[in-house]
Symmetry: C2
């Protein structure tokens, strides 16, 4: 799907115009997209949204319709908002930035750049809002799905949140990101077609209600769909419905199939699943699955499992597709370095009264160190300053805490996506990102995946970067005094 | 924007196939889309999403690519999931339903049909998920915006949530719905172009950071955009920034304009706005506006106003675009009546252990009564049963509470949108829906707009419908016994 370049905040365009008029439009800048806190009070996030971001950037150009719309916008005086020179430049604009990013499905932590953009400052600004939009949302949902995956363990996890997702694309992006994060399938047929995700579904309460009795409804369904037979049993009386479903096994077997299972969508899922299992087993249907749904989330699933619920397949809708308990990730996009044409790089940071909100200057990279068993820590460093050897993580929250990592192997998390505006990275797709997520998550100590007070994985600054940032903060605070 | 017919849950398609195979695909059904509780613990919701729903239905047809995808899906046995007859029928399918709906911008209440669909049951099912998706989300956001409108009173309200919205369309639909609900403008340029919504924006922190000093940054901006001059003043020291902004007034006046104002994006907005106002006034800039943002919602805005904050323009992002405190509306779509070809209508309801979750049978209409001052109550009635005259609202939660309304004027809330699959309603657009929302909301007693324990507006069943529903529940509970 191509998105218009106007999918951005107006101030990106007014700033771009002002950069043109100030002769700074071609000043080279570096911006980083990162978050300050993992979502859901968790220990990590799963990067997602890069595929869409790359597609967007690949198609980054203004159409004549878009230019014409912009030319009709007015300022406070009722005259045109944008200068003609600027709009002429936009009509000709070619995307020329370098973009590096963390691959989809990679576990990431606070303050690590998920995307780094380097190029003319006007271009860097124009793409800020869409990049944040794509990455914030998909990372949020992939992370939520990976938490649900953690809760269901080896059971099946289905996403079916479309009806309450935030718009059609909210549903589409959620289905894809949920799959990357660990869902096995979705009810969203279009996501199945577009992203190659397995789709699942059988029938609803309305099917049962449209017949005079539940028995008639089940029989009709069994005859029509014996190869896709999970019966929703709670339209009238749930355990009655389970017994009635077992009676369908014969019809289904006559057609050469096995009863797929039953679905519980209300009531006490622990009690009902245990009783339903007994009924199914007594009918010799040990292979029939019990599917459960009804406002599930990772905590409820953990609790149901602790209660001995006999659920094989977990359907999660609203809580997954909207990340109900935290429906937005607060990712930000901050200027970190700038240079005038022919000049030297200057570091930049944004001050804040809260230390955690002060941005990090530099052209940042991230190295992830592996101690042979698990990942040992991530080093955020500034390419301009270089790494202070032997490599040591300096805890940004307490610079007296340091962890040496130089004896470990490492990999660079940021990979080239665009060079001089040309795409140099092909997305491996949702399926590959999903495999990556599972493999990579297991290389961390399990305690980062805990829901309650997860372990804080060590992410540190390189010592030179730490010193640089401290100096710049002190300098900026000095300058900021009246 | 056209959406694929596959934007639906798989079970709608498996049910449709099973209806075809059971010879019931052309049975006529009536479904209602409604919610059971207004969002945000509020007293109402603002209907929204119909324009998109109507566009979707107008373009409801399967493409060959879609049929081909469906033909490749498999069941448990690895053989095709869908029958060939069914897919042939889908390839030829024409939408033939009657659709009635509440117009966008209309205040609505629990249990009232927002959309009523009548037609072949297979078609009614296929469109369930997209209708819910469109209406749930846009109604949610329009309602949130109208609460923010209530909080800001006559001040300006800006929506700028794109960066943390749930995907690009989450941002687009949110911008439109927020405008319908009462926002004055958005930062979303594409929403401006597509929906004719006013757009606003000036510059970000990065603008200031990209210059060596705040003064240079402000001067460059003032020269480039004197006709759109709201200065973001909190990059370094906020009140310092305000003073610096006042110094720009001269440059701006030399270019024939007035200083637009300043924007506060952090810190204590009550204190800072009061102090900023003094600085601006002392500089003779009484007409300069103070814009504030930073995780605002209706409660914070109310509190800031109570503290005497001098804010003229309120920018709300994440909290509005994602409806952060309740990111999904739980709208449902329930079968309420059915008839076989040539047969009589049969009422249908879905039982539940919770009384509030029992659906309402019939072909429902809603009359809204006006007592000359305010709306007096809404009557939900069944067209098949007719209205028990003199019209009386029976409280669904306590049938001994009754309110006679027959002496009042009324209007029907549901208007025809499709007849026999043809669109008979032209959407008046976002601007008209916005006016309707404001006008209509003011015809209710103000107490329904209160945030804390709002007044419960009387919505009752017609007496015949009440009796019918009671009888059907008793009958169903009887039938449901083992």
């Amino acid at each position: 799907m191509n998105h218009s370049v106007l999918l951005t905040d107006l101030y990106q365009l007014t700033m771009a115009d002002a950069y043109y008029q100030s002769g700074k439009a071609e000043d080279e800048a570096v911006f980083h997209l990162y978050f300050r806190k993992p979502p859901f009070k968790g220990g990590y996030a799963l990067a997602c949204g890069l595929e869409r971001a790359a597609e967007f950037l690949e198609n980054f150009r203004f159409s004549s319709e878009e230019i014409s719309y912009l030319s009709r916008l007015t300022g406070a005086d009722g005259k045109r908002l944008f200068s003609e020179d600027f709009l002429d430049a936009m009509a000709e604009l070619k995307f020329t930035c370098d973009v590096d990013a963390v691959e989809e499905g990679t576990p990431v932590f606070a303050n690590e750049p998920l995307i780094r953009v380097r190029g003319p400052i006007s271009q860097c600004q124009l793409i800020e809002t869409p990049l944040l939009n794509f990455v914030n949302f998909e990372t949020l949902i992939a992370t939520k799905a990976s938490r649900l995956r953690e809760a269901v363990k080896d059971d099946q996890l289905l996403e079916f949140g479309m009806r309450r997702a935030q718009g059609p694309d909210g549903a589409m992006a959620a289905s894809r990101a949920a799959y990357v994060g660990g869902a096995d399938a979705t009810s969203n047929v279009l996501a199945g077609m577009k992203f190659g995700i397995p789709v699942k579904g059988t029938h609803a309460h309305s099917w049962v209600m449209s017949f005079d009795t539940e028995r008639e409804a089940f029989e009709a369904y069994a005859r029509a769909m014996p190869h896709n037979s999970v019966f929703l049993v709670d339209t009238y009386d749930t355990l009655d419905g389970v017994r009635r479903a077992t009676e369908m096994a014969k019809i289904i077997e006559e057609k050469g199939h096995r009863l797929g299972g039953i679905r519980l969508d209300s009531g006490d899922l622990a009690y009902l699943s245990i009783e339903a299992r007994k009924i199914l087993d007594q009918a010799g249907l040990n292979d029939a699955k019990i599917v459960a749904s009804n406002d599930l989330n990772e905590n409820i699933i953990e609790s149901l499992k602790a209660q001995g619920a006999r659920i094989d397949v977990w359907g999660v809708g609203t809580q997954l597709a909207t990340a109900y308990d935290q429906p937005a990730l607060g990712g930000v996009y901050k200027l970190a370095a700038i240079r005038e044409k022919g000049g030297d790089w200057e570091h930049r940071l944004k001050l804040s009264e809260q230390a955690v909100k002060v941005s990090t200057p530099g052209i940042l990279g991230v190295r992830r160190y592996f101690d042979g068993q698990t990942y040992a820590g991530d080093l955020i460093y500034d390419e301009l300053s270089g790494i202070d050897e032997p490599a040591t993580l300096v805890d940004p929250a307490d610079f007296t805490r340091r962890k040496p990592v130089s004896t470990f192997e490492f990999e660079e998390l940021l990979v080239p996506i665009f060079r001089d505006g040309s795409r140099v990275y092909q997305s491996p797709g949702a399926e590959a990102a999903r495999r990556r997520a599972r493999t990579e998550l297991l290389k961390f100590h399990a305690s980062i995946r805990r829901f309650m007070n997860p372990h804080e994985y060590p992410v540190g600054f390189d010592a030179r970067l730490h010193t640089l940032k401290t100096e710049l903060i002190l300098k900026a605070r000095g300058l900021a005094q009246p």
